[in-house]
């Protein structure tokens, strides 16, 4: 069979994603994650008497914990399937990637399983983030003077 014909048939039977619905859900859920983040910052800075910068660190730790814990309980995979980018793009997606890799490779042992594979999915975020931040930092330092 020709490659073109094959591609046509594949395209025909690939399930169509309801793009508008997905986009709307991602917008709403993502927006609520933003509200939750802002609420946590306000709550921490009010109850623990922190500056908003320190409170944002507390907020990130809280969201990471929520993401990890709900992944362990099994809810989060279903929610990610439903909300897609609404939960992947916030920091909970990073926690979810770490946690699901750790859970999946746990049976291969502590060192060769969890230790070697925890950043299998989330590692690219750190690596590309660090490399790009380094290059942009050089740019800022030498071209724009810090």
């Amino acid at each position: 069979m020709e490659k073109k014909e094959y591609k046509k048939i594949v395209d025909k039977y690939t399930p169509k994603e309801p793009r508008l619905k997905n986009a709307l859900i991602a917008f709403l859920i993502g927006g609520f994650m933003g509200i939750l983040g802002n609420f946590l910052i306000d709550a921490y800075s009010y109850y623990f008497d922190l500056s908003s910068k320190d409170a944002s660190v507390f907020m990130i730790i809280t969201l990471v914990f929520i993401g990890c814990f709900l992944t362990c309980l099994g809810f989060f995979d279903k929610w990610v399937n439903f909300a897609k980018c609404g939960l992947i793009v916030p920091i909970t997606g990073f926690a979810h990637a770490c946690q699901s890799a750790a859970l999946e490779y746990r049976k291969e042992g502590l060192v060769t399983g969890i230790g070697a594979n925890m950043f299998k999915l989330a590692g690219s975020v750190i690596i590309f983030g660090v490399v790009s931040a380094y290059l942009f930092g050089l740019l800022r330092l030498f071209v724009m003077g810090g």
């Binding site: 933003g34 802002n38 730790i61 362990c72 946690q99 750790a102």
Partner: protein, 116 residues
């Protein structure tokens, strides 16, 4: 008002990610990686700081803030140590998120069994 701005900003970032995800063959890993690089890029011109002022926590929740905080920490030490500061301060501000992810993932993976 900050809450409304947080909703709009975080929602728009997620919407953008979803549009990229639906209309291209990129995986969620690609989308988050692109967003980190974009966040770092926006901080070159101090644009992301304005987003943080405008949207508060809404700008700190998406993964773009990860790139923004990486370069922000690096530039803080650059002021004291020059070029070498780029290596020293990179993780100053983001360490909390990474350490939390590692510690919680490890401990919880020991306690829980994977669910299918």
């Amino acid at each position: 008002m900050t809450y409304f701005n947080a909703f709009i900003f975080c929602g728009l970032v997620c919407l953008l990610g979803q549009i990229i995800l639906d209309n291209t063959k990129l995986t969620p890993g690609h989308v988050t990686t692109i967003f980190v690089v974009v966040g770092a890029f926006l901080d070159v011109f101090n644009i992301y700081d304005k987003f943080v002022l405008w949207a508060g926590g809404g700008a700190l929740v998406p993964i773009t803030s990860f790139g923004h905080l990486l370069i922000h920490g690096a530039m803080d030490t650059v002021n004291n140590f020059g070029v070498m500061g780029l290596f020293m301060g990179m993780f100053d501000l983001t360490s909390s998120g990474i350490v939390a992810a590692i510690v919680f993932s490890f401990i919880l993976a020991l306690i829980f069994q994977p669910k299918d």
